[in-house]
């Protein structure tokens, strides 16, 4: 088996946090999102991370610091959104170029999955494609995702991408186990639908290839927006404060879920449900539901629901 992680997106919805950083490398409770996935993949499975040329160095630096020698960073030669290969296109290109003839654990790099991949892999039956699904518990919320329709047992009978009227609350979590016999179908389908990763499963159903689901109740987050990032931080951190190495907090209150990065100074401030990256200086501020990228200097300001780009200076005179 080979794990393939899709990390080639430019994550424009999370701008400016993703201005100079790939979304999978965005720290979630102090740890890059992709690291949660990699730590969860059994040691013996080689991992290929597909990203774009813009984030090449960042991924390589990150991969080097992981104590694992079977991680490969594969570069899509794209500089912006318009030139992207597409998720399925990137997968197909890798299958062809690397001559993959093995089962694939396909993961999207911006998702946090709380379940064990070991259990997921064990749940697969030979000749069957497996999809991890999560019961989001709310039909309204399900509208924002791809939903998975089940037949008897765990058999998948249909998919609906962002349905207006969802029939189920089971959503696709971007975690798949692709059986090696279907790889030629992926390559073929990618030629006409390079960006449609969900579409491949509809194609498999049309060709009567069996698909089963692995339903899990553990935490799962699709970190696609500012709100999702804050919500997933709250869920992972709980009502506590994580303080990075070298950071100093003086005469300040941290309430709810707060993550403070390394070498950050917080003085005379109140911070609630916020994430502050490294090398920031916060003095006499009230921050609520905010994310501050590294190197921000704030003094005497109140902010609610803001994402600040790297190096922002806001100092009230």
């Amino acid at each position: 088996m080979h794990a393939f992680i899709l990390a080639g997106g430019f994550a424009t919805r999370l701008w400016p946090l993703t201005e100079k950083r790939a979304k999978p490398l965005l720290p979630l409770a102090g740890v890059p999102i992709i690291e949660y996935l990699v730590r969860n993949i059994p040691e013996n499975i080689p991992i290929t991370i597909s990203t774009n040329a813009v984030f090449k160095d960042a991924f390589e630096t990150w991969a080097q610091q992981m104590n694992r020698d079977n991680i490969e960073v594969l570069i899509e030669h794209t500089q912006n959104d318009d030139q992207k290969l597409g998720a399925l296109g990137a997968t197909a290109q890798w299958i062809q170029n690397a001559k993959i003839d093995d089962d694939i654990l396909l993961l999207t790099g911006d998702n946090y999955c709380g379940f064990s991949f070991d259990d997921f892999i064990k749940a697969a039956s030979p000749g069957t494609t497996l999809i991890a699904v999560h019961d989001i518990g709310d039909l309204e919320k399900a509208k924002a995702f791809g939903t998975v329709l089940l037949g008897e047992g765990n058999t998948v009978v249909g998919f609906e991408e962002k349905p207006k009227n969802p029939k189920t609350t089971l959503v696709n979590t971007g975690c798949y186990l692709l059986e090696k016999s279907i790889l030629p179908i992926i390559v073929e389908h990618a030629r006409t639908h390079p960006d449609d990763i969900g579409g491949i499963f509809e194609e498999l159903l049309q060709r009567e290839k069996p698909i089963t689901c692995f339903a899990f109740s553990e935490a799962w987050f699709d970190i696609g927006s500012f709100d999702a990032y804050i919500e997933s931080t709250k869920a992972l951190v709980g009502k506590k404060t994580i303080i990075g190495e070298g950071s100093v907090i003086e005469r300040s209150q941290c309430e709810g879920s707060v993550v403070i990065g390394q070498n950050t100074n917080v003085t005379d401030s109140t911070i609630t449900d916020s994430v502050v990256f490294e090398d920031c200086k916060i003095e006499d501020c009230i921050l609520h539901n905010c994310v501050l990228d590294k190197g921000c200097h704030l003094k005497g300001v109140d902010l609610t629901g803001k994402m600040l780009r790297e190096g922002t200076y806001l100092q009230k005179k």
Partner: protein, 265 residues
Amino acid sequence: MRYKILLLLWLVTDICVFVISYALAYFVRVGFIFSSDFPFDLYIKSALLTAPLWLIVLITTRTFALTRRQRTLRNAAYIIYCALVGVSLFTLLYYFQYNAFFSRLLLITAFIFSSGLVWIWHSIFEYILRHQLYTKTQFPTLIVGVTRESRLLIERLNAEKNPIKPVAILDGRGCKDTEIDGVPVRGKLNKLEEVLQEGITHLVQCSDLEQSLNLLSACRQKKITYMLLPSVLGMVERDEKIETLEGQPVTMVSPKENPLMWFFR
């Protein structure tokens, strides 16, 4: 550099126009002769001394600002007000220097000439300035956000050959157009850094209110002038004003009332 040179030239020529209008007033009132009763050299010396002071007053009205249209009533009102101050300063200077008064009609004529000629010259110079700055793209401007307001703004800036020339558009939500009135839509905000590297001098935010802090921060870092359309804040009726509350700037929209009651707002 071109803008600074043109601006300096504008200031110098304004002084000339002011002095010429006073000289013209002398010849119109006194006749096309040099009177020995009312010597021209003393008169023009006072006008020359008044001119820089008048120019300072004119500068304080921001009539030379890049964003100011010269051929508007508001601008004309500023020029007339400054001409009035100019006449007052001239009268005082002349009296202090020579301890003498002269024809009141001459002062009225000088006031009319200095108002009219300066306004005409400003309209002409604005045309020259716009032509020079627009064709050479001296102030490449980035438009952020595609809305009806921003489309209108781009069309107007281009039609009027405004020195603040739109050269690129970014849209936070992704816009289907590839260009608007000839200005390319370069993509979403993730291209901000790349576009700002291309010598942008002005940024006009037309939507994406949630990103105003970040756009402002980027502008501060790159020494770019930031502008915000009031429509981003929901103000579309063009009745907003920037005022101060105890020294703190506020954007004010007053309830609609009888226009004659504006003073009591």
